[in-house]
Symmetry: C2
Subunit: 338 residues, 2 copies
């Protein structure tokens, strides 16, 4: 038999469809216990499950949240191979499920055609992770949905935001290295974009140098991409200079590559060069030596994002901007200088 509808249940329980709907949605003010029992029993025996499309069509709400993460345009693939995104998503999904919401995962690339197709599904809200492209925000605004931006620095009251204080975190990290006697600290990072997290971390790095009275040396800034390979590539450049005794990487992935590269070049970590990461991805304890890094508890951040959007959708009062804390995880990749 085809999937039973609310009418089949109504017939089986000998009531009207509306009564079934009322009972099923908890509006049981108007239904005797006996009727409820008959309906529930019919639901069970027929295996009824409400048709979400119909429900969403009539109620104009879907209990679906769209989760957008960047994908690499050239490889046409979600950045889930970056464990950062994987972990955030995992946290978001967990929180959404707990709050009775569903998740539709989609990529945002350069063209972002996907956005309005997505919107056709009638999302109740949106979580956008790591967005930076100018035009995107306009498109998002045009959708006119409750939207939570994770790790974006755009100032716009249309959006809710969740993130850490990247500048302060990077500043702390740099001070941590400086405090251990390092005065030649390299900054290894991805592209420094306006309004991106990396820009703030860069600012934090420079502020720490300032505060410590160390002259900023642009040749110590290595800006490439947030990948293992970029770290690997940077190793040679860092190993070639003896004024650099420590490297602050704005991502664990980069730090992992840097360590692997330095090791291959015969450098010892942390004796010759100290390395510090950012994120505290699970990989950071797997590499050798175990990476000292900034923990931004990604999973918890994802959970929080899910909980926040749920709260927003449930019309609770949610601050426009939420900032979470960060701690330094000390492992084996940073040494005090001689």
């Amino acid at each position: 038999m085809a999937r039973p509808t609310i009418k089949d249940i109504a017939q089986a329980a000998n009531v009207s469809a509306m009564t079934v709907s009322n009972v099923l949605n908890g509006r049981r003010a108007k239904a005797s216990d006996e009727t409820v029992e008959r309906i529930m029993s019919a639901v069970r025996t027929l295996g009824y499950r409400p048709n979400m499309s119909a429900r969403s069509l009539v109620s104009n709400a879907s209990r679906m949240v769209g989760v957008l993460i960047p994908f690499t345009e050239n490889q046409n693939q979600l950045l889930l191979d970056n464990p950062f995104y994987a972990e955030v998503i995992s946290g978001i999904e967990s929180a959404l499920r707990t709050n009775g919401y569903y998740m539709m995962l989609a990529g945002i690339g350069e063209r972002t055609v996907e956005l309005d197709t997505l919107s056709g599904w009638g999302m109740d809200g949106l979580i956008v992770v790591g967005a930076y492209r100018e035009g995107l925000f306009e498109q998002l605004r045009a959708l006119d949905l409750p939207t939570l931006l994770v790790d974006s620095y755009i100032e716009d009251d249309h959006f809710y935001r969740l993130g850490i204080d990247d500048e302060a975190a990077a500043c702390r990290a740099t001070h941590y290295l400086i405090g251990r006697g390092h005065r030649g600290v390299a900054f290894v990072t991805g592209v420094i974009r306006t309004d991106g997290v990396v820009e703030r971390r860069y600012a934090g790095y420079r502020r720490a140098l300032d505060e410590a009275g160390i002259a900023f040396d642009p040749s110590r800034v290595l800006s490439g991409s947030v990948t293992f390979d970029w770290g690997l590539e940077s190793a040679a450049r860092i190993a070639a200079r003896d004024d650099i005794t420590a490297a602050f990487c704005t991502a664990d992935l980069v730090a992992a590559g840097l360590q692997a590269g330095l090791l291959k070049l015969g450098k010892r970590i942390p004796e010759d060069i100290s390395v510090m990461g950012f994120d505290n991805l699970s990989v950071s304890r797997m590499i050798y030596p175990a990476l000292t890094t900034i923990d931004q508890s990604i999973l918890a951040k994802g959970r929080l994002a899910g909980n926040l959007i749920a709260a927003i959708l449930d019309k609770k009062d949610v601050p426009r901007r939420t900032v979470t804390d960060v701690i330094i995880i000390e492992r084996d990749s940073v040494a005090r200088r001689r």
Copy 2:
């Protein structure tokens, strides 16, 4: 203004709603070029996007594919922190998007209440990754949807399956170690479940021993969980025995933990103990020493899964069982024995 409907377009273009629908869905046999132009222009200026719920309600098809991956019941979180799942999902999403399908990501736990709620959305098809639990297959069968199982060994013509030949792969890996002079080969793995991939890999391991005339020693089998920590824990047990000169881990994550643990115990890899992994996760080249492992090209597998379900849904002819190839990636964690 509220989101425009097909009727608004019809009015603006001065035709009936049906004509708009026809034009928009490519059934333009019956529409003059001029009408088409008027309609398209109205669509553009009003910013019309079809309401998927309405469409799916009437057509009984949603172009949505449900993607189910396990989640840890205790932590209530998707296994995306296992890079294997993250990479598969990334591949699936990419292929689905290319084929014009959407993806709804959900977790399957022990209770699997989620399943029928999910089914309320009217998925066109399902991809289930790494399912093993007995009752689950029955539930999946009851949904009566085209379903592709990735990495499951259940024999049932209701399902399409995609996977590698785990037994052959493990057998090759073990032979690889034996061929390099190792006769004491440990098998470090997760739980060995009936019909799971690990069971097959276990069978492959034993077959290789048999073929090489090496007596099977159950004390060389370390079965725990598919985690870094289990690898770490196993290190002590392996280091304590001098009859073991190599370890075959059924997952890179475990191998990574094992290497870290052995290193901490002062063992040299691969001089003292060789380690071999399985999966070729991106982490396997980040750890030290770089891991020799079996590459099952996870991303490509995910893509293939997406393409297969799309082909199935588009009524193309798809074999019930697809087996992909595997290669050995030689890095630095295996040595020939003296």
